[in-house]
Subunit: 91 residues, 2 copies
DNA sequence: CATACAAATAGATACTTGTCAATGTATAAA
DNA sequence: TTTATACATTGACAAGTATCTATTTGTATG
């Protein structure tokens, strides 16, 4: 992962609503409308956030009929661990 | 670390210059003027970036005479690991 | 004290981003 | 096919941020 991709990933994490979205997804897949119920934002804003989270590789999506299901990407943790190794040194 | 602090930490990581600064500090303490040599930014801009990195707890500073020395905080890696645990779940 | 050097602060500006209302697109059901 | 539902896209705007120049503050030295 180069600097630019790392920046994109960190920017994706740098928002309270997106952190809350990740926290909600932590226990498993959820559809957009369910996420929307738990957040105080409008549907277009959620759509915007989900795009950022998916684009940086933190979240996977799966379309099923009208519903869009989101889940934390399997290697999301590894991506962040790599940042520690690359920019902070091993602990 | 609450959401707001996490956001601040991630914002600090979400900039190419600051990533490069961390990379430079990875091998040990450096003074501001040395960092400045390796970056294509002005002194006030570096000062701004260092303030952000210190405020979020990723970087420590130590003043010695006229010089300001910076180093990666001992628990910087732990702070980021905690984000993985909190928002992405254990791997 | 006067000068030089290192870093911080102030103020300005261009750019980015989070948000919403309005609209578009896709899918399912009646 | 018409209607309803779920989500994406567009366009606009306010707030935030990265950067610079100019200035100020702090510290050492002649």
């Amino acid at each position: 992962m180069n600097d630019r991709e790392t920046v994109r990933l960190c920017k994706a994490l740098a928002d309270e609503n997106r952190l809350q979205i990740l926290h909600l997804l932590k226990n498993g897949e959820l559809c957009a409308c369910h996420l929307l119920d738990d957040l105080h934002i409008t549907q277009p804003t959620l759509s915007h956030h989900m795009k950022l989270l998916c684009d940086c590789g933190l979240v996977d999506n799966r379309k099923e009929g009208k519903w869009m299901h989101y889940s934390i990407a399997k290697d999301a943790g590894k991506k962040i661990s790599a940042i520690i190794t690359e920019y902070l040194g091993e602990e």
